[in-house]
């Protein structure tokens, strides 16, 4: 229990250090652009593939599980859209990014720690935590919502492909269901979750990387812990945010 409080306290302290005024705003801006590419654009491929297949599977499963005369056929499109927008795209993509981006952030920063690169930054008088973690946080907060919106679009498109390929639902009914009682708030809800998850992924992974001690073995362990804890916090905050924003 004491260890848990120690980690929470140290994490909060790190967050405070990360948000200190940057030494050189220009360098940080350049880093943000680099991180947007590394953490965001380079994840586009996996996000696209997963989203298309997720949408397709969701459509087929919904069709098989809602085969009832009292349920309108367009409910398949409606359910697919709601599931993708409210849950699958923001949460599942966040969990995938926790694996891909989280391990990358923790191992990159952890390696810098064990090879004394972080010490070198600190000796130069640079806020190492801020320089290494803040651009990643900002980049993810900017780019993850874009990824999630793309994922929503591709997920729905994947469902459309499944409908077209398997005849589980006529395309016109699928499209009608997709457009049926669309609420813009659902998108806002999903994007709010995405921003919180982006913050969790980068700060939790940054935390485990920044406090790595030892060598290659410990970098691997830090990377694993970063993924595990980011995923747990994403699921936990998913519940909390759903309760706050939807109920």
């Amino acid at each position: 229990m004491l260890k848990l409080f120690f980690h929470i306290g140290r994490y909060l302290k790190l967050i405070r250090i990360i948000f200190r005024r940057p030494e050189n705003a220009g360098i940080y801006r350049r880093q943000i652009l680099i991180e947007m590419d590394k953490l965001g654009l380079q994840s586009l491929g996996i996000v696209a593939i997963i989203s298309v297949f997720m949408g397709a599977v969701l459509t087929i499963q919904t069709a098989f599980n809602t085969d009832h005369p009292l349920l309108p056929i367009y409910a398949i499109g409606f359910t697919t859209r709601q599931a993708i927008i409210l849950e699958f795209s923001p949460t599942m993509i966040a969990l995938i990014l926790a694996g891909k981006v989280g391990s990358r952030v923790a191992s990159e920063i952890g390696t810098m720690r064990v090879t004394e690169q972080i010490d070198a930054l600190e000796i130069m008088g640079i806020n190492a935590a801020g320089y290494l973690i803040l651009p990643k946080v900002v980049a993810s907060i900017i780019v993850n919502p874009v990824l999630v919106v793309i994922s929503m679009f591709l997920g729905i498109l994947g469902g459309w492909f499944a409908a077209a390929a398997t005849d589980v639902v006529p395309l016109s009914h699928y499209v009608y269901g997709i457009l049926f009682e669309f609420s813009e708030y659902d998108i806002s809800y999903a994007l709010i979750k995405t921003v919180v998850f982006a913050f969790i992924i980068t700060t939790v992974s940054g935390y485990f990387g920044f406090y790595t001690r030892g060598g290659a073995l410990e970098v691997g362990q830090a990377s694993t812990r970063a993924v595990v804890f980011s995923s747990i916090y994403i699921i936990l905050f998913n519940l909390i945010l759903t309760q706050i924003l939807l109920v």
């Binding site: 090879t115 004394e116 010490d119 070198a120 600190e122 130069m124 640079i126």
Partner: protein
Amino acid sequence: MIQVKHLWKYFNAMPVLQDVSIRFEKGKTNLIIGSSGSGKTVLMKCLVGLIEADRGEINYDGKNFLDMPARKRKIIRKQLGMLFQGGALFDSLTVEENVMFPLDMFSEMSKEEKLERANMCLKRVNLENVNRLYPAEISGGMKKRVAIARAISNAPQYLFCDEPNSGLDPTNAIVIDNLIRDITWEFNITTVINTHDMNSVMEIGDKVSYLYMGKFWWEGTKEEILHTDNAELNKFVYATELLRILK
């Protein structure tokens, strides 16, 4: 000049540095020698603020570093250059970008001026035509030279070198040693070097301080070290068969 007075450092109630008092003089290569575990690295990390000493004083030209608030420490840190054992070059930056990094962060120079300064520093360490290479693409000796170039790019007042020639062959080790000595004289800076290499001591030891089990044990020049009657120091100096035969 750096003056250390009655410095103490404990790890888990075990004293690692015990009442250490040493003076590091300006324009000289000040060597700290001692066997592994004698406290050399801890002392150096205390000097640069990577480890917080528990008691004592570290005076940079009369100003006690340990009493300074973080803001004032940052000013001192900008006057420090450090050469780490492994070089600690930033993997994601090219050689040129590594050398320019402190200038990018803190100087008001134009890009051309920074480039000129970086090239001058690289030339000073006898490195040319490696500007666009990444640290992974150059040899260990070249990495050390790039690290020296980075350490001097911001015109530091104090240069710290942690085992600068570890992992290098004797020829390259002497090149690095001589480079550090020449830079110390040329720029009239206070240089502190951690080493347990007697070749370095004989090559560049303007002033040698011997640490033994966390305590300051002996001080003198490279000439005096050969004729001392200090039993512990003699054991360290004449540890190798070669030196015993020469004696």
